[in-house]
């Protein structure tokens, strides 16, 4: 059958695709469209059944979308794309390098002649926690996460790296500063450290649970629920407990180091993750009629 490809924004007809059947998928459409005109890369192609409708998934079948011969599909070019894995690896490797470099070298251009010697133990512990956090993130990117989309816009890599690397330098500057003030309270440092560790384990638990929720190679979506792992019981209260644990980790890090810069990072992260969590929570409720009603998005009982 024949599909007419129209540019979503301008309404201009771009191509007429033949050699498609009712059982063809959107991926088949993309492969066919790739041979026409500007030969747009598959990852840059987005198709919709309405000009401003949702982007169709690669595995959706033309027949189930009520498309027949002569039907129109609307096309949008997503612009230069970069792989999710690539972005994650770059944006998480930076903070490791930046923080540890500042910790180890106490660079002249930052601290002048001042030098922390001996250092407070908590400064070294903080460097250890930081390393643990970002190493965990890198390993999760390689071995745990399963991504729904393969790519994201190229400009994101600059935006994301600016955020992560920038805050890494900002926090590292203060925690490793020769004029760093040790928290007066030993209990505070211990509780902060304990909180941090528990939240790291919690965050990892959620990531693993989410991975196991979706069989390999599928894009099936299910309601996440608590598993045998007690850390996943947070699912009973929120839709995105991984974000809850992440905020908990950075709030704990702030308490442990008594550092305003870390506090600002925690607040910034909270804001962004709250926006994401509210979106995901809304999608879950829309998608599953039986979604648990008492769940919040990110903070139990609150939001």
């Amino acid at each position: 059958m024949e599909i007419v490809v129209v540019h979503a924004a301008s309404g201009k007809e771009l191509a007429r695709l033949n050699n498609l059947s009712a059982s063809s998928t959107i991926l088949d459409v993309k492969k066919t469209f790739h041979k026409h005109g500007k030969k747009v890369a598959l990852h840059r192609q987005a198709f919709r059944t309405e000009p401003k409708g949702r982007t169709l998934n690669d595995n959706e079948v033309l027949k189930s979308l009520q498309l027949s011969s002569g039907s129109t599909l609307y096309f949008k070019d997503l612009g230069p794309q970069v792989g999710w894995k690539t972005v994650f690896l770059v944006e998480y490797a930076g903070p490791l390098v930046v923080y540890l470099a500042i910790y180890w070298f106490q660079p002249r251009f930052l601290y002048g002649r001042l030098h922390a010697d001996p250092r407070f133990p908590i400064t070294t512990i903080a460097a250890g926690c930081w390393t643990l956090h970002y190493t965990k993130r890198l390993l999760e990117t390689l071995f745990v996460h399963r991504f729904s989309h393969a790519t994201m816009p190229l400009s994101n890599i600059f935006k994301n790296c600016g955020y992560y690397w920038g805050f890494a330098a900002f926090i590292a500057y203060y925690v490793n500063h020769p004029l760093y003030t040790n928290p007066a309270n030993e209990l505070q440092m211990k509780l902060g450290f304990l909180g941090f560790m528990l939240c790291e384990v919690g965050n990892l638990s959620i990531h693993v649970a989410l991975r196991n929720l979706r069989p390999a190679g599928s894009t099936e979506r299910k309601i996440p629920v608590a598993t045998w792992n007690p850390f996943t019981s947070l699912f009973n209260f929120v839709s995105c407990p991984n974000y809850t644990y992440e905020i908990g980790a950075w709030a704990s890090f702030t308490v442990m180091t008594q550092c305003g810069a870390a506090g600002l990072f925690a607040v910034a992260g909270f804001y962004q993750m709250a926006v994401w969590a509210l979106g995901k929570h809304k999608n879950y409720k829309k998608e599953f009629a039986s979604y648990p009603r008492n769940r919040k998005a990110i903070i139990p009982f609150v939001i």
């Binding site: 203060y174 500063h177 550092c259």
Partner: protein, 223 residues
Amino acid sequence: MLQKSFTTFYLVFYNVMMTAGWSSMGLLWIQHYKNTGNFFGVYDKLHMWLKVVQSMAILEVLHCATGLVRSSVWLTAAQVYSRIFLVWGIIVSVSEPIVQHGTGFALLLMAWVITEVLRYSFYWLTILDMLPYLIKWCRYTFFIPLYPIGVFGELFTIYAALPYLKASRLYSVELPNAANISFSFYVYAIVTMVLYIPVFPMLYCHMLRQRKKILGNKTTKSN
């Protein structure tokens, strides 16, 4: 329906009050010049007006956030913030003649008074569907010289204040301290000046595009 009448009344009231506030500053300035023959030195006469009226503009951010006015919250917040920074952060905070009675202040005040009287008038006249073409034309034309003049005045004023900010360590926090954080308002002011370089052309071009869109048809018609 009642809600619509109330919101219309509120917006007309707000914009009329702001027009009156900025006009008062303009009139005080004219009066000052008539009395003293001096174009400068008017800050002492109108500083209360400037503080109150410019601070009221914070409401405009709320108007956007609540959907009362269809405009970008972030854009409005950025513009209002830059004014608040200048008025409260620089002009009010640094009581030096070069800052409060200097050329920079005179230039920015002139630009602000004319622009704001036009802008707020444009708004309430539009809401009441009584907008004369002349006001629309002025609003979208006067900015062409006034915007650069105002920016020059603003940069001049911040620059003049810098030595005082550095020496007095105003609004700044130094290490060591219990929160392990530091902030230099002096550095912040310099960064603000640097940001004018990318931001001003962006906003100026945006206004030029708006002008073409809104006045474009009329000028070709009259030709």
